[in-house]
């Protein structure tokens, strides 16, 4: 048996794939930011960035927004996790739906729905106006912080909840029996131990906020932000300046990778091991405390799920052009989609199923190679898989478009769409697929091989079935994110390749909210079906890791 074949060969193939489709375009962006208009080395891009006030202002705003939203998400997420872990509240089961709400409601749709509620012509705004009360301006900082907090706090919530559930209650009892007041014990014993998990998820929130495109472009009319500026520099109808596009993209890459670096350094220093955790008994609350705490938690839950309802209602609301007539209902928007836009739904299904299919096959193979067949190529593979995490969707779109629209390798728009959707999700797909690979004993596989079954057949007959739950989770999560993908595809797509999110984005741009809502409902439906199927029928655990 050749030692290189098949696993060494497959490792090299995976490596080459990542080098061409991830490393090459990203390095291209970094490289082009140092190339001036005349084609020679120049620092003009960075000089412009540092001297023209608007770029620095956008960078500052982006960082400030990231910090504020990380803080608000942490407060909200930890509060809710604490309530769920410690108190016996009436609707604890609904809380478990929360992570799903983030999955099935694309960012674009939550921004859109909150505009319909709080925008200057929104439901609540009009209510306040009718009552003669002033309402804060939603476009700008208030809207950005509000919508992003409600979209991203779930990340902190999940991390904090897992940490709190793993917390050994006897530590807290020990603290109290030594004479420390309960509240002080929380601060000195409980919080430090859940801090690493909370901070790690907080940093994820930070990277999501600074890379965010959908919410930013909908709400940041008066607040210049880096991601929106990067997008506009690329999409400008009068032809942008490639050096400046690359410079903006490079700044964003540096920002995110800097944060990821800090996170790794911080987490490597702090690691608490819980010994035989005894879980905390859940307290039943009474009186005004119960009302206050369960009311607060209930409000967060209602607000998290509200966008889906608003969009559903909007999709059935009568509109004349951009003007909506709330309270009057129609099926017109769905009829129009049926008459004119089935191709858009087809595009979404086509691109997302290709990206999911390819992405899951790739993730399965790579996770097997990385966990079970480590070789000299594995460390490089590990690093290449981290690369997609350092770039926002917009930057990935620009990298792919610049890298493959001309030059040595030219790819068609459709292929680029699939690539963009697939690459963005790859690191997570590999993590999902390898989740139970660590628990599969090598001896099972060795037994099969020693009985004469060739390694590849052993992989398909023995290992793959054992990996199936992880693969199914990877498939569902990849599907969910690819169907909702906007920021990379909106940079790449060509005429005739519009997906549902792109169509929604375009309709929102021309202020046709009711029609956008109908597309939004269809988008959520397409996302929800496999999730529902996976959880209910196939019993896939989506949030095990």
């Amino acid at each position: 048996m050749n030692r290189f074949f098949p696993w060494g060969f497959l490792s090299v193939t995976a490596l080459v794939f990542l080098a061409i489709f991830v490393a090459y375009p990203i390095l291209g962006v970094l490289f082009r930011s140092f190339i001036g208009e005349n084609g020679a080395f120049s620092l003009d891009g960075f000089e412009t960035f540092l001297t023209r006030g608007k770029y620095l202002e956008a960078l500052m705003n982006t960082v400030i927004l990231g910090l504020i939203v990380t803080l608000t998400c942490t407060i909200l997420g930890v509060f809710l996790a604490f309530v769920v872990a410690r108190y016996d509240i009436p609707f604890a089961n609904i809380v478990l739906l929360l992570p799903l709400s983030v999955l099935i409601i694309p960012e674009l749709i939550s921004a859109q729905s909150w505009v319909m509620v709080f925008g200057n012509n929104g439901l609540i705004t009009n209510l306040f106006k009718a009552l003669g009360l002033p309402f804060p301006r939603f476009y700008g900082w208030f809207g950005l912080i509000y919508v992003m907090t409600l979209t991203y706090y779930v990340h902190v919530f999940l991390a904090a909840l897992a940490a709190l559930r793993g917390f050994d209650h006897s530590l807290e009892e020990a603290g109290q029996s030594l004479g420390t007041a309960p509240f002080t014990t929380y601060f000195r014993v409980v919080f430090p131990t859940i801090l690493p998990a909370v901070l790690a998820s907080g940093l994820i929130v930070f990277t999501l906020v600074i890379g965010n495109f959908a919410i930013s472009i909908a709400l940041a009319q008066r607040v210049p932000l880096l991601s929106v500026m990067t997008y506009r520099s690329f999409i400008s109808e009068l032809g942008g300046n490639p050096t400046m596009q690359s410079t903006l993209a490079t700044v964003s890459i540096l920002l995110v990778s800097g944060v990821l670096f800090l996170q790794k350094r911080y987490l490597s220093k702090r690691n608490y091991q819980m010994v035989a955790g005894r879980s905390t008994p859940r307290i039943k609350l009474r009186g005004w405390k119960a009302l206050l705490i369960s009311g607060g938690a209930g409000l967060i839950i209602v607000l998290s799920l509200m966008p889906a309802l608003v969009v559903l209602m909007g999709s059935f609301t009568v509109s004349r052009g951009p003007v909506m007539y709330w309270g009057q209902f129609t099926l017109e928007h769905y009829v129009r989609i049926w008459d004119f836009n089935l191709a858009v739904i087809g595009n979404s299904l086509k691109f997302a199923s290709l990206a999911t299919g390819l992405g899951v096959c790739f993730a399965t193979l790579v996770s097997y190679l990385l966990v079970k067949k480590r070789s000299v190529f594995s460390p490089v593979l590990d690093y290449l898989l981290l690369l997609p995490l350092t770039i926002s969707g917009t930057v990935l779109g620009i990298a792919l478009a610049q890298g493959f629209n001309s030059g040595p390798i030219v790819l068609s728009g459709g292929l680029l769409m699939v690539l963009a959707m697939m690459v963005r999700r790859l690191p997570f797909g590999v993590r999902n697929a390898s989740s139970n690979l660590h628990n599969i004993s090598n001896s099972i596989e060795e037994a099969s091989v020693s009985l004469g079954v060739p390694p590849v057949r052993t992989f398909f007959n023995v290992v793959l079935p054992l990996m199936a739950p992880g693969i199914a989770a990877a498939a569902i999560l990849t599907w969910v994110t690819t169907v909702a993908e906007l920021s990379a595809s909106v940079v790449i797509y060509q005429a005739g390749q519009e997906t549902l999110p792109i169509q929604i984005f375009r309709l929102i741009s021309s202020d046709l909210m009711a029609r956008a809502s109908a597309f939004g409902v269809i988008n959520m439906f397409i996302i929800l079906v496999p999730v529902f199927f996976g959880i209910k029928v196939m019993k896939v655990r989506l949030f095990s890791s």
């Binding site: 009319q221 951009p322 003007v323 299919g357 079935p465 199914a472 741009s509």
Partner: protein, 325 residues
């Protein structure tokens, strides 16, 4: 395992299903117009040229034109409908001229004898007003709009990003020179895109916005009472839009029939009623009057030399960036 099998079969099917081709008797129409506008055209073709089948590829005009450019060696598109003249000028090598018999009925400014496209409609720059958030009387002229009292209350799209916004800037420059450009720079706040302007005004973010007539009319016709528009009496600007035949398109004979149809009185009237984009034909005054919009002859229009505007672009944007500080 089984669902992986299903997934790969589905994947294969979608790849096979992706390829399509146009044959004779068909026209490949690349259009940036909305689906309901396209539907009107499809209906008109079905009625008046039933042997022609139209394949519609829709999208933003920038992305469509870039696609036509990419397909240049083996053109797929027959007809492009429609984009601003200044945008079309950047792609003029993709088009071939066609002298439609309908062209004589068009407004002189939209006939474009020297260029390989024909005007289909024209935008008129207006001041869109939201009375709900307006303090005092709305300005009736550009000069009054540029008064310091409106500082921070007027919005327009970034002229560096948007061709229609550049046309507005050039118009102001033509009327009031460098000082006008500086005055404008002092009072406006910029939006990233053209649509940002009318949305911001409709949502009450700004009381005043420099935008296109049709965009404001959508809200007025939709029934939003606090929206109105002003045609500045010191003169406003047109930004005409046109369509063009694609050079070496596969079905150019059929495409010419659609071309003529798009300039016909009946279809232009229907399109105007739907989109509020002022038709290029000179004989639709009744329809315009019925819609509540003023007739062209009642608006003070400043002639703009498009070539001159293009040549001045770098200079003017530099001046603008300088004035914005």
């Amino acid at each position: 395992m089984r669902y992986l099998g299903y997934a790969s079969t589905f994947t294969l099917l979608t790849i096979i299903g992706a390829a399509t081709n146009a044959t004779a008797g068909e026209v490949n129409l690349y259009t940036s117009n909305s689906e309901d506008a396209v539907a009107l055209v499809l209906d008109a073709v079905a009625e008046q040229a039933p042997d022609i089948k139209i394949n519609v590829i829709g999208g933003g005009s920038g992305s469509l034109l870039r696609r036509i450019e990419a397909e240049q060696s083996a053109p797929v598109a027959d007809l492009f409908w429609s984009s601003g003249f200044s945008t079309l000028a950047g792609f003029s090598n993709l088009f071939t001229a066609y002298e439609s018999p309908e062209a004589d009925s068009l407004l002189p400014a939209l006939q474009t004898e020297s260029a390989p496209w024909t005007g289909t409609n024209t935008h008129v720059t207006v001041i869109m007003v939201n009375s709900d958030v307006l303090d005092g009387e709305a300005p009736q002229t550009w000069e009054a709009l540029m008064d310091k009292r409106w500082a921070g209350q007027v919005t327009m799209a970034d002229p560096a990003n948007s061709s229609s916004s550049y046309a507005q800037l050039y118009g102001i420059y033509q009327l009031y020179g460098e000082e006008g450009v500086r005055n404008l720079a002092d009072i406006v706040e910029l939006q990233g895109s053209t649509s940002g302007v009318y949305k911001a005004v409709a949502q009450g973010e700004y009381p005043l916005g420099m935008t296109m007539e049709y965009a404001a009319q959508r809200y007025i016709h939709g029934g939003q009472d606090d929206i109105s528009m002003i045609y500045p009496t010191d003169g406003t600007f047109l930004s005409p839009e046109g369509m063009a035949l694609i050079k070496n398109g596969p079905n150019s004979e059929e495409a010419k029939q659609v071309y003529d149809l798009l300039l016909s009185q009946n279809l232009q009237e229907q399109l105007f009623d739907l989109t509020f984009r002022r038709p290029s034909r000179a004989d639709l005054d009744d329809a315009i009057a019925n819609s509540g919009l003023p007739l062209m002859e009642d608006i003070n229009i400043i002639e703009v030399d498009e070539t001159e505007a293009g040549e001045q672009r770098d200079y003017l944007l530099e001046l603008w960036a300088d004035a914005r500080g």
